[in-house]
Amino acid sequence: MNPLAAQMPALQVIVPMLMAPFVLLLPRGLSWAAAAAASLLAFGIAAQLTATVIDSGPVAYQMGSWPAPYGIELSVDALSALLLLVVTGASSLALVGGRASLAAAVGEDREHYFYAAWLLALAGLAGIAVSADAFNIFVFMEISSLASYVLVAGGPDRRALPAVFKYLIMGTVGATFYLIGIGLIYMMTGTLNLADMELRIAEVADKEPILAAAGFITVGLALKAAIFPLHVWLPNAYTYAPHIATAFLAACATKVSLYVLLRFDFFVFQQNLSGHAFQFAAYLMPLAILGILVGSGVAMFERNVKRLLAFSSVAQIGYIMLGASLVSIGGLTAATLHLFNHALAKGGLFLAIAALAPLAAGLRLKDMGGMARQAPWTFAAFVVAGLSLIGIPGTAGFVSKWYLVSAAMALGAPGIALIGVVVLGSLMAVVYVWRIVESACFGEPPENPARSAAVPRPLGAAIWTAALANVYFGIAPGLPLRLSSSAAATLLGHVPA
């Protein structure tokens, strides 16, 4: 066996992380290549880790060889493996395809800073996914957040700046809430290791500081994950970021916070807080439902294509939360699966927007006129990803909605209402996706001769990779399904029957 195999959890984080300072030092021309190479390597490591997790179960790693509750432990299980695939995959695809688009948005004289920040965002997100230590998660959350602020601030429109400022304020408040939460837990348990915390929290589960901690952690992470109604930073940040960065962040940034939320609510609190299962469902389910309906509703009337898709993200986060709030194997499978599938769909859509935007005068719906003729292949891929977003069978989005509806059905009569919400949300998705399709197919092409010629080849390839992945995982969802059902079993294994 490869001697490096045991080091994979650490390498997953430090490969992109250490490449970042090198990008600062390397000649300018090489920064994109270095970033893309590191990202692809990280994707390879994630694939390797996933294989290991599937073959032989979770992998643990002791940083600095210090034993678990004292040193920092990394651990990779099915849920983190799924997340790692999403994060590294989205980053690699966006980087490989996005060179030209980023150069245009950011400017070649400062793009090495941008690529360094990109790598650190990637390292931060991956670091959260592999970490098994509450405070370490905070540190990597801050790396990824600060780096994402830089990515968003790279947008060419000046409106990116107020957007990113709002993002920074809300993100920092969220992180600080999280810090208060783990501080209170630490005060009551004396530990920061998640597994240790779960054991030790049992004795003090009904004390006030733990209850307050659960509140602070949930609200803090909900801010970071843009769960309705704490999503207000998201639409503008996604709209004004460089298109490629939007594709990357939309695919995975909020998902990682959701992942931490799931970890805490199921691993740390679920077994221990009296009546917590009730609280989790009671508080998050209405928010999830409102998120689905309001997000989709706003998207239906939004005129800017990117903001439309951003509001759709608010709704999609609602689906993930809805699945999780059912607190059942089926619901959690649906939630984790949708985490994966939505990343595929939304990543593909934003990549396609990155390709179409230079051909259009702007990003309003009417600017999309004639896109279907101007870039038929790219637009076809956009439609495929859009169908996945709606949840049409044969695409990945369908599989997770299938699971979500099945899980809701298992609830009996109240489940019918939830199915109604999912169905209504999907129908609203039909409307907002179709508004784009219709204006692209039949809208008047604006009379603007200053359009650039064509979609760059690598970007086209990346878009089609994403689109085909949507189809592939819609027909053969074996891999994500296996990971997510295993993740659901692990998450629920911590809930008393």
């Binding site: 049409i392 509806v405 099945s406 199915i419 169905v423 179709w434 819609g474």
Partner: protein, 488 residues
């Protein structure tokens, strides 16, 4: 080639054909049309080659991929599907012939897109016909919706796009909002969505749930155009006539009623459904649709819209026949799919030929047109007679079986509906026929046109001939469809 391979080839062939058509279009229009006809012929050969073994009782099946546990993409050929596929593939050849005349005669733009999407639509249709379970069927059902959207919106002007929006809006809304939940419910209750003789739901659902699920299915399958989800069908008439003819008289709408029939026969099982309370409403719903649509058709002034509402009514014949839940009626449902297809495609072809040759679309413009276009109007007359159900046309055969089934079930609502709608059909078709042949020609200056281009005329003559032939030689079809209701 084994039967399994033949099935896969039949589904894939139109897709590759679409690619071939797109490539051939780069050489020239003639090559493109040749590729279309060639693909259509090859498809028909493939599909029809499956028929003999099926008559002997073979049921070839093939599985492609397992998407979820218990949910596969799989194909299986059974008599209903065989009939539908055979019908669609046969009429595609004739329709392609007609399209050549129509599209050239009217100098339509985007002809390559038209032929390519048409081939894709056919692939989806064959997929629906051969689907082995509800999931696969739904997959191709949605594919058909999307593939036909560019055909409906072909003209691309504002009002066309608006109509196309109604088309895709209604179809997607009903399928995602009702049909899909129904499928998931079925899966949750039965653990499978496979079509099986005698149904899969017996004993799995009880009481009003059966009626509710049936309602989800019938209204969710918007393509069957049972009121109130029929709105898309008149809206789709903005499409070029060949699209209306094949897709909205044959492939798409028939996919709808075919699916309804299949759900009733193979998912519920007719005996189970007959025994369950709260399922009788479907006959009333279909009956209402038949009468109401006929009345609306009676009031139309535009020929294509009249044909559209006539289609809505005729589709509900199939639904009503299936809902009578008696073997004879189920056979009637199956052969009405065929009989109506031959008759209605003839009528659309005629309407399109009139538009191509004379640019006329309104009923009052048709006075005396029989003298200028005798072949076309002769075919139109045959089609109209078939709609009414007059011998010697195919329409008579299927109505006969439906009536027999209604008698068997003592279903007087159905009996009354059939009689009343026959009268209404006669009331709106016969005046047109009379006017076309016997009324004096109007218009100044007097029109000088003759028949439409020969491929169109040839095509509509062929389908008119088929309408009559189906009255005379329906033996194999009946024999095949008896197997549907034979004891499992």
């Amino acid at each position: 080639m084994s039967a399994q391979q033949t099935i896969l080839v039949a589904v894939a062939l139109p897709l590759f054909g679409a690619l071939g058509i797109a490539l051939a279009a780069r050489i020239g229009a003639n090559f493109r049309e040749a590729a279309t006809l060639l693909t259509a012929a090859a498809l028909a050969y493939c599909v029809w080659s499956l028929a003999p073994s099926l008559l002997e009782g073979a049921r070839p099946a093939v599985s492609v991929a397992e998407v979820l546990p218990g949910i596969e993409i799989a194909f299986a050929v059974e008599p209903l599907g065989m009939l539908f596929a055979a019908l669609a593939s046969l009429l595609w050849i004739i329709n392609s012939l007609y399209s050549v005349g129509y599209m050239r005669g009217n100098r339509e733009p985007h002809q390559t897109r038209f032929y390519v999407m048409f081939a894709v639509s056919l692939a989806a249709t064959i997929g629906i016909a051969f689907a082995a379970n509800l999931f696969t069927l739904f997959l191709f059902y949605e594919a058909l919706t999307f593939a036909t959207y560019p055909l409906v919106a072909h003209k691309g002007d504002k009002s066309t796009v608006a109509s196309a929006r109604v088309y895709i809006g209604v179809l997607l809304t009903t399928s995602i909002g009702l049909f899909l939940p129904a499928i998931i419910w079925t899966y949750a209750a039965a653990g499978t969505t496979d079509f099986a003789a005698g149904g899969i739901l017996e004993g799995k659902l009880h009481g009003p749930a059966v009626g509710l699920l049936l309602a989800l299915f019938v209204l969710g399958i918007g393509k069957a155009a049972v009121m109130p989800v029929h709105r898309w069908l008149p809206a789709a008439m903005v499409a070029p006539t060949p699209v209306s003819a094949l897709l909205h008289a044959v492939a798409v709408v028939k996919a709808g009623v075919f699916t309804v029939t299949k759900v009733i026969v193979y998912i519920f099982g007719i005996d189970y459904l007959f025994a369950s309370p709260g399922t009788g409403w479907l006959v009333y719903a279909a009956a209402f649709t038949i009468i109401a649509a006929s009345v609306v058709a009676f009031r139309q002034q535009n020929l294509k819209r009249l044909l559209a509402y006539s289609t809505v009514a005729q589709l509900s014949y199939v639904v009503m026949a299936a809902a009578i839940l008696k073997p004879l009626a189920e056979i009637g449902a199956a052969i009405h799919i065929v009989a109506h297809a031959f008759g209605k495609i003839t009528l659309f072809f005629a309407a399109g030929a009139i538009y191509t040759a004379a640019k006329k679309t309104e009923l009052h413009e048709l006075r005396g047109i029989g003298r200028r276009m005798p072949v076309t109007m002769a075919a139109f007359t045959i089609g109209a007679l078939s709609m009414i159900g007059v011998p010697p046309t195919g329409g008579f055969v299927s109505k006969w079986y439906i009536l027999a089934g209604a008698f068997e079930a003592d279903n007087y609502v159905a009996l009354f509906t059939i009689v009343a709608s026959t009268a209404l059909n006669a009331a709106y078709f016969l005046p047109i026929v009379y006017m076309a042949w016997f009324a004096p020609e109007s218009g100044k200056p007097p029109p000088t046109h003759g028949e439409a281009p020969w491929p169109s005329v040839l095509a509509l003559s062929l389908t008119a001939a088929l309408t009559i032939a189906f009255f005379l030689f329906n033996g194999p079809v009946l024999e095949l469809e008896r197997q549907v209701v034979a004891a499992p």
